[in-house]
Structures are given as C-alpha cells and as structure tokens.
Symmetry: C2
Subunit: 259 residues, 2 copies
Amino acid sequence: MSGTRGKGERRRIKMLVAYDGTDYHGFQVQPGMRTVQAVLEEALGRLAGHPVQVTPAGRTDAGVHAGGQVVHWDLYGSIPVDRLVTALRGLLPQDLVVYRAEETHPDFHARYDAVSKIYRYSILTGPHGWPFIARYVLHHPHPLDVQAIKWAGRLLQGRRDFASFQAAGAATKTTVRNLMRVDVDEQVMAWGRMLHITFEADGFLYHMVRNMVGTLLEIGRGYRGLGWLEEVLNARDRRAAGPTAPAQGLSLVEVKYGR
Amino acid sequence: MSGTRGKGERRRIKMLVAYDGTDYHGFQVQPGMRTVQAVLEEALGRLAGHPVQVTPAGRTDAGVHAGGQVVHWDLYGSIPVDRLVTALRGLLPQDLVVYRAEETHPDFHARYDAVSKIYRYSILTGPHGWPFIARYVLHHPHPLDVQAIKWAGRLLQGRRDFASFQAAGAATKTTVRNLMRVDVDEQVMAWGRMLHITFEADGFLYHMVRNMVGTLLEIGRGYRGLGWLEEVLNARDRRAAGPTAPAQGLSLVEVKYGR
C-alpha cells in the first residue's frame, strides 16, 4: 500500500468469486430479488463505506453456479486490498465466496478484457441421485452414449454461427462465436457416473451452453444422430436444436485474460 | 419374487439411505417438523399402500448428514423390492436418496444388529470457505496442528469410559464404548485444506463425536496439550471436555453388520 494514497483515489479491484447459484435469481440485480450482484455489492459497500457497482465477466442465469467468476469494481479509500478476502468472509453468506482480490490496472474490464470463458455442465447418470452433489448436477437416470456425445462435441467446435443455440428473442450483433473446446470427461464414482462437458469459447450467446447440452443429450440418449447435429447448425434457428438443459448442472469455471 | 406370496405377508426391508441433513430437523419424527423419518415414511407409505415405520441404525441430529444410513421397515403386499430404488426416486426430494433396498431376514434390526458405525467429521481450513461443500464442512479459517490431532485421536482409541463426551443430561446404562478407530486424513485441494476425522465404534453416546471433535480442535488450535486430553477422559464429566462442534461437519458414513 502506498502511503501517499489519498482517501479519494480510485483503485480498480479484480476479484475471483465462487457461488452456489441455487438460491440466487442469477447474477444481475433485479428489484426485490436475491441476486449475486446485490449480495456482493451490499457487502462491498459496507466494507468500502461508499456505494459499489460490480461488473462480472459473465452474467450467469438463475440457478447457474460459478467456481471462477471474475468481477471488477472501484474502491475509493484506504482499505488494504490484501485484507478484502478475510474481511468479506464475515459479511457474505456461505454460498457466496470471494477467494481472491487484487488491485489491477485502472481500465481493466472483467467482461471486455476476457479472452475466453470456460463453462462446465455436469450430469449424473445412474438409477438414483446423490444428495451432496444434487444441487450441482442434472440427474439423468438412464445410461448415455458417451462416445456419441464426444463425437458431437467435436462437431460443435470451431468458429461458426451458433444462431440455433441462442435463446429465442435474444438480440446480438452477431451469432458467430469461436468455440475453442468441447471436452467430454466421464468419471465412475461410488454413487454413479459423472459426465462433465466443458466448453471454452471467446463468448457465449444467451443460453448457448444449456441449448448445446440439451442438443447433445438428444444424441446421447440415441434419439438423434450426428447428421441431425449438422442440420441443427445449418438451420440457424433455435427451433431446430434440442431443449434447454436445466440451469443447475451449469457452472462458470474460469475466465481467461490476455497479458 | 415368489408367486406364492400373499398380499398380507410381511417382508422386512433393509435400505441404504443418504441425505443432506441441512434442511432436516434430524432423523426422528417430531410433530410439525421436517425430519428424515417423516419424509421417508410418507414416501414409503404411498408406495406400499399402508402406514410404514422405519427404524434407523443411528438417529442423526438436526443438521447431521448421512452417506450410509441403514434403515429397516416392514412391507406388506406384492411390490417388487428390486424396483423400490427407482420408484422412490420420484417420491423423494433431491436431498434424500434411497440407493439400495433388499429383502432381509424377518428379524433383522438396523440398530441392534449393527456391529459398528462409522462417522466422519470434515473441516475446511483456509482463509475462505467454498460454496459447493459449505453445507458439509466446518470452516476453520486458521491452520490446525494436524499432527497433534492425530496423536490425540490415537489416545481416544480403545474400550473406555466416554462419559466426558456425552451430552449433559443424557441417560444411558453405561458410558463405556469401544472406539475402534480414529483416522485423521488431510487433503490439499485447490480451495483449501480438508481435514477428515473418521470415528468407528460399537456405539456412540449422544453428541459423542461432536464433543470429541470440539475437544480435538482445542488441541489442534494449540490451546491445549495431550496431557489435558488424559484429564478430560479421566474426569468422566462433560464440563471437562471441549465445546460441541457444529452439526454440519458430521456425517454417518457406514454401518457395519456381522454375518
């Protein structure tokens, strides 16, 4: 901490945030709703002694979790940044944790500066659920064709028009995104098989991951083949793809920044 | 299924049950409260078509979890037992799962026939909590002396009088129990250090695990030494031991039966 800093100097803070999204109506502030942004801004405001507005890398939907959300905000005053994590512990509920905080360059922007984001969707297959992960997975009671899901995931990769996977009614300048990676990983646990599907892209359209997962599940169930996936991509129409997978299996796991 | 079985024949069912105890007022039925027993009996009653009473191996307290609770109950009628797990899936909330069900010998008793029970207490140490396990651990922000906890755990082992670890006011014929095993295991995770303390005994007094953990934490924090633990054991007085550790870190992980 520089001793010459005045009370009024602006410091831009970058923080890593994890939350269980089950009991939040998404990230973004909505009047009368418990949102991640509202709970975070209230705690930060109490610490900072001034109103705070946080900007996230990704505005996660209701019920979506984050293990590696990044936010930025501006701190005025002399609070030591290296004590933020400890000080916030007592001000935040146990389902929302700030696990790193640092001062960054004054024009850092959590969303615009992100090079890529990584989302993971987790599916438990087996005859029964498991209570300790139930909030973080989609339980699918029947076996899935994991190899078909892997092939389909590969077909989705690349810079392409993902219009078919954008929520109906969403408005964006372009529906072209670079989907750099779709990894499909299966783990056999004592209580069932866990399927983790990891997506990395330079940006995601609204509901894009959940719509891709809903589409991959149609293929994993054997209802549809890989040829259908090509049709879905080419249609550039939300109605061509599978249903939207539930929010609870989805988590924002990492945001990557350039140098 | 035997075709000769009549509608009225009694079958004793043994089930393995897992639950997140956070939103339950313990196992045992209490009027007006959401308890594991009440939720389970209601679902089983709907399936069986007659009132059901379940008997557990261990009556876990409010907020205590189970990965391997065992219960028995009597089923009258012709429902195939091998479909119970699947049928119960749709009748139970996601924080309560029956993951095995079988017909057992008619006089099997979940509690009296148990040879030993295994409880595990989990502690997360580090500057911040972690939302996805927050319901299942005690978060202790400061480092613990794990080696001292291991030594203390060894001192607790054996057949001895655990009166100092029984909740004040509890009445039992004897406070002697055989504590066969206290294992202390530390895992380093990306989000902190996890300490799992596993206790196996032929039986546990009321609050015995949580009172032992509270006492081990006094030693792990460096507030007390191993000599104090000897004094605690010899005192046979609840006031001599450490405080009761919170319920949320505790889980009944396994119940063992003889041949």
